[in-house]
């Protein structure tokens, strides 16, 4: 007659095995590329910063757009100055374009259009939606102000979770209030230009 008792031996062996199995099952998905969004974040941050700093935007008068037209008009933001003779002036940002960009990011509908045209909203293609924040700081780390108002510190609110940031050194086409740097007590403009740091942060 067999008693239907589970031996302690079996329980021990089975529990050790199950313990390991559950540990590995939890650990595995975290390693594969599909789930690790951080890999994609770095690419997006680099891409957005390059798009803003090295591209004048489409169309050539995109910075004249107003908040009520942003839903219907197609445009791509780009902050670089475009000179009719020499072409794009890389790393030279136009204050006017920055101001338009900041205005668009302040508006709740327009920021979604900007997100879409920057290629950060891939939901229609079955992909993810990224959040982003762009800010312009001077070399001391303070936000650049123009006519006493902050020029660019707009986008989604930066969270405490994993955020990837890419920085670029740029110079503006107009003199802002605080682009000078203090060297040995004197206010100096680096290379006679209004040099600033553009920070692009991207997260999920």
């Amino acid at each position: 007659m067999e008693d239907g008792k589970l031996s302690l031996d079996l329980l021990m062996g089975l529990s050790i095995f199950l313990f390991t199995f559950i540990f590995v099952a939890n650990f595995l998905p975290g390693v594969f590329a599909d789930v690790r969004n951080e890999i994609n974040l770095a690419n997006q941050a680099y891409r957005i910063s390059t798009l803003l700093v090295e591209d004048p935007g489409y169309s050539s008068g995109w910075y004249n757009i107003t908040e009520d037209r942003c839903r219907t008009e197609e445009f791509r933001p780009g902050l670089a100055v475009y000179d009719l003779e020499t072409g794009v002036k890389y790393n030279n940002l136009s204050v006017e374009k920055i101001q338009t960009f900041a205005r668009l990011l302040n508006n709740t509908t327009c920021i979604e259009r900007v997100r879409f045209y920057l290629g950060l909203n891939l939901s229609t293609l079955g992909g993810q939606v990224f959040r982003f924040n762009v800010s312009l700081k001077n070399l001391a780390g303070d936000l650049v102000t123009y006519n006493r108002s902050v020029l660019l510190n707009h986008g989604d609110k930066i969270p405490v979770t994993q955020v990837v940031r890419f920085e670029r050194i740029v110079y503006l086409d107009k003199w802002a209030d605080n682009c000078n740097v203090t060297i040995e007590g004197q206010n100096v403009a680096i290379a006679d230009r209004c040099v600033a740091k553009l920070e692009v942060s991207v997260w999920i």
């Binding site: 031996s7 079996l10 062996g13 089975l14 595995l28 390693v31 780390g141 060297i183 680096i190 290379a191």
Partner: protein, 158 residues
């Protein structure tokens, strides 16, 4: 104590070991390793380097631009001194990143290629430093003889 009947425990332990060793072996191979995070830091530093060289290459600035620096270079005893304004500006820029920098000038003197290090930016880089260069059309008959164009090479590290 009865030492018989421990087969299941041994089996369980062996099974766990098998799974763990297999997982460990697989993840030691480069195939499933995550793309190196350090590569992204290199990209960031390299792009900042290019940006710095582009921003300080102002054809209109006199002493603080690359052109001005090359034109007003002073040399002696094998050392090359950039104008003080340029050194201060570049140091301020590097401090703001923050990063350390080394600046070298490379030019062709008619028969061979010569290299010179700027006196104030002559620290030795770490192994993970990045190097960026920019060709600047400037000349200095005194210190860089026969050079019509100079390659400014900036090495950056953190």
């Amino acid at each position: 104590m009865d030492l018989k009947g421990q087969t299941f425990t041994l089996e369980g332990v062996a099974a766990s070991l098998l799974i763990l060793i297999a997982t460990y072996t697989i993840f030691q191979s480069t195939v499933v390793m995550s793309p190196s995070w350090s590569e992204f830091n290199n990209i960031q530093l390299k792009q900042l380097g290019y940006d710095i060289l582009r921003v300080i290459d102002n054809p209109e600035a006199v002493n603080s631009s690359l052109r001005g620096m090359i034109g007003n270079l002073s040399c002696g005893d094998g050392n090359y001194y950039a104008p003080a304004e340029f050194s201060q500006n570049l140091s301020a820029l590097l401090n703001a990143l923050p990063a350390y920098g080394r600046v070298e000038l490379i030019w062709f003197n008619g028969s061979s290629i010569e290299t010179a290090v700027l006196f104030n930016f002559s620290k030795n880089p770490t192994p993970n430093a990045v190097r960026v260069s920019r060709l600047v059309a400037a000349s200095n008959d005194n210190c860089l003889p026969n050079a019509k164009i100079v390659e400014v090479r900036l090495t950056l590290w953190r």
